[in-house]
Point group: C3
Chain length 328, copies 3
């Protein structure tokens, strides 16, 4: 299965091939089976060390990676920025090299600045060491494991036994919310357009500038921009909502949460123009009543939000497994 996999690092989906997407999806499907057992553990990474270097605080993503690593029997080291040597003036590369020298096999990195995981991966390559770096969210750049778990969640819904990229071909997928600042949206655009889906971005003009159209790729899928939500939702198969950071208000990019919800919040009412079996996703944590109405979030007919979290552990196990077995 891992024979088509040659990546030590997972930093961005921009250059992911269809084969790589399918390898992740199939590997995750096999790990999902492990997670349904009573003893949810395999010895794959026994004796290896996964360091979670979260320079930006996170509970959800860090716990998901920690659990994924533990279920592969790896040892984990958690680094939280608040108690770190950073306050002592050490550079980020020096921190990474310290974890390398301790014997870390894989690093999962989140940082508020775009490019930090890439810089650390470049340094590891320059040093000639076989340490994998996984981008767990860098600034407003990318969050590849989130997009891959979204892909796994949607593909699995269509074909649970054989999730694969082509299942999303010609599906219409709306991404609604603060596109401008969203690393989740950026990664999803790469994977969804690669699948051949029609991707419709919808946001207020301040959160989706015209110049975003430059983002289009040579991928088979198509990308559309809307300043209203309705054209994105019309006949959509999936609606991906994005988290709205409260600080957008103080930056004068939005008038109020209430007005945002009125114009872009996803409700049962708004979903009437979608496909009848439309599903809604959200990367979490959710501001109930802002990006999505509270009742819709809890409605198993529409919401995939819990399924996304479960997929997250399986997809992250797959990524750590594949990175660890890379022959590159």
């Amino acid at each position: 299965m891992a024979s088509t996999w040659n990546r030590h690092h997972v930093l961005s989906l921009a250059d992911f091939t269809p084969e790589e997407y399918d390898t992740v999806l199939q590997t995750a499907a096999s790990f999902r089976e492990v997670l349904s057992r009573r003893t949810k553990k395999v010895p794959t990474l026994q004796g290896q060390v996964v360091a979670n270097l979260f320079f930006e605080p996170s509970t959800r993503t860090r716990s998901s990676f920690e659990l994924a690593a533990k279920r592969l029997s790896a040892d984990t080291l958690n680094f939280a920025a608040s108690t770190s040597s950073l306050t002592k003036g050490e550079t980020i590369l020096d921190t990474a090299k310290t974890y390398l020298a301790m014997g870390t096999d894989m690093m999962v990195i989140r940082h508020r600045e775009a490019g930090v995981p890439q810089a650390i991966a470049d340094e590891m390559d320059r040093l000639g060491v076989r340490v994998g770096v996984l981008n767990a969210g860098d600034g407003q750049h990318e969050h590849p494991s989130q997009a891959l778990l979204d892909l796994f969640t949607t593909c699995t819904l269509i074909d649970s036994d054989r999730p694969r990229l082509e299942l999303l071909k010609d599906k219409k997928i709306a991404i609604v919310g603060d596109i401008l600042h969203s690393r989740v949206a950026r990664s999803n655009i790469w994977s969804l357009t690669a699948s051949g889906a029609e991707v419709h971005l919808a946001a207020p003009p301040t959160l989706l500038p015209q110049l975003f159209a430059d983002f289009t790729t040579n991928a088979p899928g198509k990308l559309f921009l809307h300043w209203q939500v309705e054209p994105a939702l019309e006949n959509a198969d999936f609606v991906m909502t994005l988290r709205l950071q409260k600080e957008r208000m103080t930056q004068h990019l939005l008038p109020s949460l209430r007005e945002y919800h009125q114009r872009f919040g996803i409700t049962r009412d708004r979903l009437r123009i979608c496909q009848p079996d439309v599903k809604v996703l959200h990367p979490g944590p959710v501001n109930r009543g802002v990006e999505i109405s509270s009742d819709l979030m809890d409605d198993p007919q529409f919401s995939l939000i819990q399924a996304q979290v479960t997929s997250g552990v399986a997809v992250r196990m797959a990524l750590l497994y594949l990175m660890g077995s890379s022959k590159a």
Copy 2:
């Protein structure tokens, strides 16, 4: 042993049956044996995940639960409120559901508001999932694992091989200190009156209002209230002291720590009117020289404080084991 056990959740001792108390005591006794070995570990919960969700900071109780889980070979996830999504506006139920979706088997929950563990347990039941919830302290409501470890500590002292509820029948037990705000006292009142003990509460009037008398139960034990410490201590077999929160002073509920110690602090002198073999307990952390004199705390003839901590790990192993094996 677990055949009499049908609880997924341990939220309160209010409805514990004598059989349930005895099951916990006997199971803890068998785990205490494991803890005396060099390799203090059993494979009981291998591959299962225990999430410690401590919305209120704690070192002692969290470490005790973490150790209990690890000694049952479970994987643990630690959530500390300070770095959580709570600051990002997620509700507590959504946080719990996220841990559920990741594959958590048991949740240990501490929260400053009474009722939070119950609300999470109700939600898990509503969703039809077999995830156990354990209340590790909720506001001023209950702290059942603390009362169970106190019970184990006292019963074990009387019959180390076969600790059981009836051993406390007709014993006189004084609970001294800030009864009003104490979740430890509330849980202990349920277990001690269930045993048939005579329970005497002693506190200044501001920390033990008359209306507390309503708390009495149909249990065989009896409950007495005192605004002086002496009538509670007279002929007592056990004296349970409670931690005094320093903020009670700023709330004008107490004149000073010194005056509190003079009137209610437990000293060797005060113990003279107790039974000759009286023992003193404290849930920790102790304010030396406030609730209890420093020399008394360190005197192995009287103090059970270290034994309580040791009992804590065994009792928490028992609770996690029983919850995990519940057929309910």
Copy 3:
């Protein structure tokens, strides 16, 4: 191998014997071999508990100890001062006794006050319990595991297969920087003079008072003090740089970081008067361009800084192993 080892505690190097140094070096060498395997784990401490009690925040040292413990298959408990009961008024000894009562087998302790690990070790001995205490840095007193890893790093460079104390005999070793406040320097002075090396301390007068000369020991090595860096560097085999705390500036002990670097910063230029194969060490985290120039730090011809971090895990595994197997 451990037959010459009778220490439960590792608190200071002041009374270390040459045999003890050599036992640590040889044990670390055997663990270094484990660390080069794919499965970097041995079952030595299975079922035992190592508590990392870091009353002073630390990422690097805590991670190193945590990894060392995990690679010996111990369970670890991490205590961080910020979320501790200390804010609740508990004494440090009571905190340590709580971890003892939970069943901790070894305690790794860092504290901003000199003597705290010793006080806890004394209390454990007084209680008659077999719990090992390791000083992971106490105030400006000692940091023995750092000096031992420095020793292992330098000796290993000379004879990788059989690192031993005598290899440093007659070597010239410069220690440059804030000697006055450095626990790393204090521990290194014990081990290096024990080896028979010539130890040259160099610092500005405010950071190396004359009275430091009293520190000399009966050890075979010799200790020299310099207020300039050049006499220390001349013909040196090893240059140990020390971290400069930024707060020394506000204490008026130093004019500026820039002036410090000009007078005492280690650069390629300054190394020309050393032995041609001189090597540079730093305990980390490094202030690049202050204690050491940035290019020198990254130059594998001179820098042992990464090797020190790797040595750290092996040496700490050796210490935990030896303490655990002590017959004393």
